[in-house]
């Protein structure tokens, strides 16, 4: 299925969020996630099912003012 990851379409067979993050190569990176505009806590990723057309945001620490 196709998932919009940080604004780019990706094909995946991952059924839930933890598997998708592994597939995308995030490994043990410190990131935070949101699906369809709603925050998904790290503890909730493994039971967050993904559906065709979902919009995923994966954010990491960055310089800011």
């Amino acid at each position: 299925m196709k998932i919009l990851v940080n604004g780019a379409w990706r094909d995946t067979t991952a059924a839930e969020l933890t598997a998708l993050l592994q597939e995308l190569g995030y490994g043990d990176s410190v990131v935070s996630t949101a699906v369809n505009g709603e925050f998904v806590a790290a503890t909730a990723r493994s039971h967050t099912r993904l559906s065709e057309g979902d919009r995923l945001e994966v954010l990491a620490p960055m310089q800011g003012g």
């Binding site: 940080n6 190569g25 935070s32 990491a60 620490p61 310089q63 800011g64 003012g65």
Partner: protein, 257 residues
């Protein structure tokens, strides 16, 4: 000591971490500024890319407290979701809440700001709202649960200093017990010193240091200016007046009568 949400801080300078020439210069500037708090943000990162991880390691090594922001958010929903994401990543209830209403001036959308502040305070966040000098908005933010306010000096990155001196001094006079941090628009150390002389509790700045020809030296200059401004406030400045008063005693002046 500066007290922000029950945390006591030695420094009255909060420093942004963006737009430095290199990570090494950022680290040196943070040390030269003698700051206790730096602002940070969240941005998209692709898998395998590690720039965010490297940045986060650098900040942790500096041993300073972080104030995550919601920069770039233009709606309540974006700002609230970003705040929740930041709390998880940075492990702090502090959030510098920005809801931008207008792109030319990056002026806060104060209506969205109040709404987002209400939601986040109810969730246990300790909100630092980036706001204007508007007294009514300030009142609403305090009612929403904010215990610190961050009025702008001037538009972000403009370097114009304290743009609306009347509005800012009125805000200070109206809320004598609320920690007020001048956030944005500071250009040179004298602007920051002025803010402290006027009784503001602290200054948050980024571009003025990061984009200076020598950011490390400028960070040190700001640290000195802010310490001088605070010392001057404690010392009690004289009232300004329109006409001269002789400083040398006039009694016994020669050649008179």
């Amino acid at each position: 000591m500066l007290q922000l949400y029950d945390i006591a801080l030695r420094s009255r300078l909060l420093l942004g971490t963006a737009r430095y020439p290199s990570p090494a210069i950022l680290a040196a500037a943070v040390r030269a500024a003698r700051t206790d708090v730096v602002t940070v943000a969240l941005r998209r990162e692709s898998g395998g890319e590690r720039s965010g991880q490297a940045f986060w390691s650098l900040i942790r090594e500096l041993g300073v407290r972080v104030l995550p922001n919601t920069a770039g958010c233009h709606s309540v929903k974006e700002a609230v979701t970003t705040a929740r994401m930041a709390r998880e990543v940075f492990g702090t209830p502090w959030i510098k809440l920005e809801v931008i209403g207008e792109d030319d001036t990056l002026q806060p959308d104060v209506f969205g700001l109040v709404e987002a502040a209400r939601i986040l305070c109810a969730e246990g966040f300790q909100v630092f709202p980036y706001t204007t000098e508007d007294l009514v908005v300030a009142e609403r933010l305090l009612s929403a649960g904010c215990r610190v306010l961050m009025p702008w000096g001037a538009p972000i990155g403009s370097g114009r200093g304290l743009n609306n001196l009347y509005g800012l001094t009125a805000l200070r006079a109206h809320f004598p017990d609320v920690p007020l941090i001048i956030d944005a628009g500071i250009g040179v150390p004298s602007h920051a010193a002025r803010a402290l002389e006027l009784g503001f509790d602290a200054v948050l700045l980024n571009t003025a240091v990061a984009q200076a020809r020598d950011p490390v030296q400028m960070a040190a200059a700001f640290a000195q200016a802010i310490e001088a401004g605070e010392a001057a406030r404690l010392a009690g400045p004289i009232e300004s007046r329109d006409l001269a008063t002789p400083s040398t005693p006039v009694i016994g002046t020669a050649f008179r009568g």
